[in-house]
């Protein structure tokens, strides 16, 4: 398989950004957008095949809190903590996904089961306040002097490269998926589950595969985000609110194109900051207000997102292009 040259060139170029010594604030936005992009890309891997999850926040929280608790309570470095956290999140995803897929919980029912899972993690994190700090949040302990690398506490440039690595991995996974039988099987399942099963596609197994990959990227991004911000709280790492924000950025950018969710992440973060800057802290409700309106407008007029505008395929062939086809 020949890797496409253009995206690799892009990655190399992006890796050089810190060398231009841009202002800290600008780097902060870039890192946040990139990590949001990884979450959205992970979500869209499932979402574009009709597996709409309203609970991806649960996976961010599961890995971020696992990582932070391992570091704070046992002193285990995030280098180990993040893989363990991702593993915990993936286990959670399988625990939830397997019965869902096996018992054919699809459509609205699947969306609401995932929503319940997201809420469970949010409430558990809040309830275990002895360890997690509850809704006040928690901070990973500062590394001893000189131990920054081991504790994964870098400066902005360091985090930029880490985030870029995660983003590159997510895009690579997307690219490999697009060339695999799994994606073709999933497309068939999204069209008609019975028909797909009748030609020998193992529906449960294929759905589980994509769930594991999707959850792993969301979980990775969640842990990195927590580590970058050095702050964890249940609202921003689990529950319905953040789960819907991930969905929003993926949809706004367009979940069918590999770069779609990343475009969406840039829009979301850019919008949030622009509103914060333009209106100050008085306008705290402004960001959700505006992106709520945008989400409605996208659904009404541009259900395939920004990336949908760039698609070469003639739009006329599919009159009511779905943002997702619910497997029902």
């Amino acid at each position: 398989m020949k890797l496409p040259l253009l995206p690799i060139l892009l990655l190399v170029l992006l890796a050089g950004v810190p060398l231009l010594s841009p202002p800290d604030y600008f780097m902060h936005l870039l890192i946040t957008a990139l990590l949001t992009a990884v979450m959205g890309t992970g979500w869209a891997m499932m979402g574009r095949f009709g597996l709409v999850s309203f609970g991806h926040g649960a996976f961010l929280g599961a890995s971020a809190y696992t990582m932070a608790l391992l570091w704070n309570e046992l002193g285990i470095t995030p280098w180990l903590g993040i893989p363990v956290g991702v593993l915990v999140a993936v286990l959670l995803g399988v625990l939830l996904g397997y019965p869902c897929f096996r018992l054919r919980v699809v459509g609205h029912y699947f969306a609401l089961v995932t929503l319940a899972a997201g809420e469970i993690v949010r409430i558990l994190v809040t309830a275990l306040r002895e360890h997690t700090g509850g809704s006040l949040g928690m901070t990973p302990n500062q590394a001893p002097p000189g131990g920054g690398f081991l504790a994964m506490q870098f400066d902005k440039a360091g985090f930029w490269w880490v985030a870029l690595g995660a983003w590159g991995l997510a895009l690579l996974a997307w690219w490999l998926l697009d060339r695999s039988m799994t994606s073709k099987a999933l497309a068939a399942i999204a069209e008609d589950e019975d028909a797909a099963a009748s030609v020998g596609i193992q529906v449960t197994r294929e759905k589980l595969k994509i769930t594991v990959i999707s959850v792993a990227f969301a979980a990775l991004a969640g842990a990195l985000m927590a580590q970058y911000r050095m702050y964890l709280n249940p609202e921003s790492l689990s529950g319905l609110g953040i789960s819907l924000q991930i969905v929003f950025s993926a949809i706004a950018g367009g979940m069918y194109a590999p770069f779609g969710p990343s475009i969406g992440a840039v829009i979301t973060i850019g919008l949030e900051e622009a509103l914060r800057f333009g209106f100050g802290t008085e306008f705290t409700g402004g960001a959700p207000l505006v992106y709520g309106v945008l989400l409605v407008l996208f659904m009404l007029f541009l259900p395939r997102g920004i990336a949908g505008l760039l698609e070469r395929r003639p739009q006329a062939r599919k009159p009511a292009a779905p943002a997702v086809q619910l497997a029902e």
Binding site: G50, V52, L96, P99, C100, L103, R104, V105, G107, H108, Y109, A111, L112, V113, L115, A116, A117, E119, I120, I123, L124, T126, A127, G239, L240, G241, L244, V247, F248, I251, F283, T284, G285, G286, A287, P288, L289, V290, Y291, G292, V293, L294, L295, V296, F298, M299, L300, P303, A320, P322, A323, V324, Q325, L326, E328
Partner: protein, 287 residues
């Protein structure tokens, strides 16, 4: 364990009262879903708007409580109508998930608007009724009144669906949306009516919740998810199922809180929901 332990009985009574509060929004959501076939993800936020309206009119504008409630109901009903006309109707021919996500957008809009208008402070109505003592069990007067009002609302809804011409048409559309237009029922008109009634139920729920909970822009997230789960447990669109499931959830949360604490009882309720879906994917009371 003594089942006649007054604290346990109190937990049981509170569970039933809590179920009554969950029942109204669950009925409204189920009505809209059963008729229009769209899940209003922002349903709890409609309730939140109603709560703010009642709070504002009562504490800020100095209206009497009954007048504030009397305005709150039609206001949220109107909001339901607008939601249908502006957001849901243009998306009726689109895949269900587009509709759900659009109403999710409305959720953000309402939360954002509430934050802008009232900040994130917790607002309380400051109305309380004295508790009543029945045997050894104390029952909060406010909760009991809210429960009775909820039952009354449900009964009115039932009578409306059962005995009026429009009610019968609504039930018929929910049963078969292809045949009913052939019988001379205009589905668009029925959708409008169902959305208005769904909104009115949210308005009534708002009146009953505002006396028990503090209002803040994110209050919807505290009872919204559980409402969806109740509807799914009862079977989406199945009004009676949702009504019964509301009491089941109320009991689980209240009795769970009696043995452990309230937070874990919510975890138990959500787990129970997930297991129910695995056992009966179309709802507990699916035929």
């Amino acid at each position: 364990m003594d089942l006649l332990d007054p604290f346990f009985l109190e937990a049981l009574v509170n569970g039933i009262l809590l179920g009554g509060v969950f029942a109204l929004p669950a009925l409204g959501l189920n009505l809209v879903f059963g008729v229009v076939d769209v899940v209003w993800l922002c349903y709890a936020e409609l309730v939140m708007v109603g709560m703010y309206a009642a709070w504002f009119l009562y504490t800020q504008a100095g209206w009497p409580l009954w007048a504030a409630f009397a305005v709150c109901l039609p206001l949220v009903s109107l909001l339901g109508l607008l939601l249908h006309l502006l957001v849901v109707k243009p998306l009726l021919n689109q895949p269900p998930i587009n509709q759900v996500l659009a109403t999710g957008g409305v959720l953000f809009v309402l939360q954002g608007a509430a934050t802008l208008a009232f900040r994130t402070d917790f607002r309380s109505l400051g109305v309380d009724m004295p508790p009543m003592e029945v045997g050894d069990v104390f029952v909060s007067g406010t909760k009991l009144a809210a429960f009775c009002a909820a039952l009354l609302g449900a009964a009115v809804l039932w009578a409306f669906l059962k005995f009026t011409y429009v009610g019968v048409a609504i039930r018929a559309i929910a049963r078969d949306r292809e045949v009913m237009p052939l019988m001379g029922v205009d589905p668009q008109r029925i959708y409008l009516i169902a959305s208005a009634v769904g909104g009115a139920l949210a308005g009534l729920a708002a009146c009953l919740l505002v006396v028990q909970l503090d209002v803040h822009p994110f209050v919807g997230l505290s009872f919204g998810p559980i409402t969806f789960m109740i509807c799914v447990m009862g079977g989406l669109g199945n009004m009676l199922g949702g009504f019964l499931a509301a009491f089941l959830m109320g009991l689980i949360i209240s009795v769970g809180g009696f043995w452990g604490n309230t937070e874990y009882s919510y975890v138990i309720a959500f787990l129970f929901f997930i297991l129910t879906i695995f056992a009966r994917p179309r709802g507990l009371f699916a035929r």
